[in-house]
């Protein structure tokens, strides 16, 4: 994928999410993640991506 293609996909993702609206954004990203995992078809790679995506994000506070 070229930088230009990455750019275009990024913009498309943002636009679709904008159209769906903020309340649906989490579910949209969850669905996209599932489809991407299925497409990657590599459990180790997917596991690594999950860890990378979670890295440095603060855990939610639980009572």
């Amino acid at each position: 994928m070229t930088d230009g293609e990455l750019d275009a996909i990024y913009t498309r993702l943002c636009q679709v999410m904008t159209t769906l609206g903020e309340p649906a954004a989490t579910l949209f990203l969850a669905r996209f993640a599932l489809l991407a995992i299925a497409h990657i078809d590599d459990s180790q790679a997917a596991r690594r991506l999950i860890d990378d995506a979670a890295e440095a994000l603060p855990p939610a506070a639980h009572d």
Binding site: L6, Y10, T11, M17, A25
Partner: protein
């Protein structure tokens, strides 16, 4: 120079000079920190009044350019270079004041070089090649614009718009036989006719009328000419607001583009920093949605933010505010730039977002494209449809620029929660995941290729495997310049763009042959028509005598860079774009390409 304590209005649909913040009245008073003026004093020019008969200027003019900014001045210089006299109408009494365009691209420098003005830009401007982006306190991108030892000019130089205009003005003032500047002269009405345009002008010393065969409207984002013709810019106006602050600060920090996302000094905001000559620094910072525009530009609110930014950057010197205004990005264009005898250029034709510095630079490219075409039409060397190709090519360029500018703006001022969320994701991942870093790159302006221009002579079967395609500008490459009669001693080293003449140029990649019968015949035909056509032999090596009738590819880069086999020809337009190229040229093909551009009227509307 304007003085006021009222906030500048927020530009909306036809906002400020693009590539620039608002040209509106800045805030110039501070209770806590004294404003200082820019380190520049513009000369004041009187309004000349020509000889009139019944309120009309006795002489009509082939071309009148409305607007004495960078685009109007570049257009005038271009027309003069092609021996067309031009009257330049400017409402103000001197070059601009305030914070506007500050970044001049390599392509613009190449244009100024042809117009004899580049030296001033390189003397004053601060060259730079890249920049750094930070997320919170971590550097997440160090980008570099394309640059290597083959280039003639740096990818970008920073200098204030008053310097840009002053350099172009001084160049124009050296050619008073072609360029007649009417300061303090404002267009108050415009009457477009089939055979020309009647302008009504007001000056402090009275009004008069003037007839022009052609008018170039380079009168800026709020173009009076555009409004008078009932034309509207179309596109997107963004909601994100930036405060633009120029300050005076003594710092030896290098010249590079600095972008701070969510910085500790201004959490939640985005801040851009650019160095300009003479101790002027441009700081742009994004406002939060809940911030009031009027309050945001008050010095009492601006100064603490600048102070905390400088502290974060480790800048300890004293500083003074020079200018504060508010900016909101626009991405707008007219659908056509030719309307009968009126041609639009620069911000009058399109407004680019400041992010990516396409405002002034795209306008300078407009001027360069328009000048030779209008000159050829005025001088009867080409048919009027050539001017439609100005619109075709530059509207296509504007759309490409707008697309890139929109992407830059969507990153710098996210237009929705989704762009904001995704940007946070990119910035958070970029430090450890290089694959996403490209999304932070500011996508700075670069030369546009007129891929679909009706002027292009399509490549034939003897295709090139490298080199600039028809519609592209020439890549930079050093070479040994042809010897001239005045030359003595060592050969002169120059660049391929130095070979271009004032008209069309044929770069003939050859061996030891003295002349090309094909190009000689084309040249003879063009000479009969009064059209400059320069043939420049480009050879692999110096002749045994040590003198050479052509340029020499002493680095060995040029032939492969152009994909040229011996005998190949590139025909280059007066604006430096390739018209056509042939590995095995013949008179018919080259002449047909030139005729198509200049003589026949069948190319109108070929590109939408």
């Amino acid at each position: 120079m304007p003085h006021s304590v009222s906030p500048s209005p927020i530009p909306t649909d036809a906002g400020p000079a693009s590539g620039s913040p608002s040209p509106d009245i800045p805030i110039r008073a501070s209770r806590t920190r004294e404003f200082r003026p820019y380190p520049f004093r513009a000369a004041v020019h009187a309004a000349p009044i020509p000889t009139l008969r019944d309120g009309v200027e006795i002489s009509g003019h082939p071309v009148v350019v409305v607007g004495g900014g960078p685009v109007g001045l570049t257009t005038a210089l271009g027309l003069a270079r092609h021996d067309v006299p031009v009257v330049l109408i400017e409402a103000d009494d001197g070059v601009c004041a305030g914070s506007r365009a500050i970044c001049i691209s390599r392509r613009s420098l190449e244009i100024f070089d042809r117009l004899g003005a580049a030296a001033g830009f390189l003397d004053i401007g601060l060259p730079w090649t890249g920049g750094r982006s930070f997320y919170r306190d971590t550097e997440v991108l160090h980008f570099r614009m394309p640059h290597d030892e083959l280039q003639k000019h740096p990818p970008m130089v920073n200098l204030a718009q008053y310097h840009i205009e002053q350099i172009l003005l001084e160049t124009a003032e050296r050619d008073t036989s072609h360029i007649d500047i009417r300061w303090q002269t404002r267009v108050t009405s415009i009457e477009a006719r089939a055979d020309g345009v009647m302008l009504t002008l007001s000056t402090p010393d009275g009004a008069y009328r003037m007839h022009a065969d052609w008018v170039v409207a380079a009168d800026g984002g709020r173009s009076f000419v555009r409004e008078s013709l009932g034309l509207a810019l179309r596109g997107t106006s963004y909601q994100g607001r930036y405060v633009i602050v120029d300050i005076l600060l003594d710092s030896d920090r290098p010249t590079e583009r600095l972008a701070y996302f969510d910085p500790p000094c201004n959490p939640g905001s985005t801040v851009l920093v650019h160095k300009q000559p003479h101790g002027v620094w441009r700081i742009d910072y994004q406002l939060r949605e809940d911030e009031d525009s009027d309050a945001a530009v008050l010095p009492g609110n601006v100064n603490p933010r600048v102070e905390s930014l400088l502290e974060m950057m480790g800048e300890r010197s004293d500083w003074s505010p020079v200018w504060i205004s508010l900016y909101r990005a626009n991405a707008l264009t007219l659908d056509r730039y030719r309307h009968g005898r009126v041609l639009f250029a620069g911000d009058a034709a399109h407004l680019m977002p400041i992010f990516g510095v396409r405002g002034a630079n795209s306008g300078i490219d407009d001027a360069d494209n328009l000048a030779w075409k209008l000159a050829y039409v005025v001088r009867g060397l080409a048919g009027e449809p050539l001017l439609d190709t100005y619109s075709d090519e530059r509207v296509a360029a504007a759309r490409e620029n707008l697309e890139h500018g929109a992407k830059s703006t969507e990153f710098m001022a996210p237009p929705s929660f989704a762009f904001d969320l995704m940007r946070t994701a990119v910035l958070g991942l970029a430090a450890r995941h290089p694959a996403v870093r490209a999304l932070i790159n500011p996508r700075q302006t670069s030369a546009i290729t007129y891929t679909r221009s009706p002027l292009n002579a399509p490549d034939g079967v003897d295709a090139f495997d490298a080199g600039p395609k028809p519609g592209a500008v020439l890549p930079a490459c050093p070479l040994t310049l042809p010897a001239t009669p005045g030359d003595a001693g060592a050969p002169r080293i120059g660049h391929v763009t130095d070979l271009l003449g004032s008209g069309f140029t044929a770069l003939w990649f050859c061996g030891d042959e003295a002349t090309s019968p094909v190009l000689d015949m084309v040249q003879a035909t063009m000479r009969e028509r009064g059209i400059p056509f320069t043939v420049v032999p480009v050879r692999r090596r110096m002749s045994s005598s040590g003198r050479c009738s052509g340029a020499v590819d002493h680095t060995g880069h040029l032939f492969p860079m152009f994909g040229a086999r011996p005998g190949a020809v590139y025909v280059v337009r007066p604006d430096g774009h390739v018209l056509g190229r042939w590995q095995h040229p013949d008179v018919g093909s080259i002449q047909a390409a030139l005729d198509r551009a200049l003589v026949h009227g069948s190319i109108q509307g070929a590109l939408s």
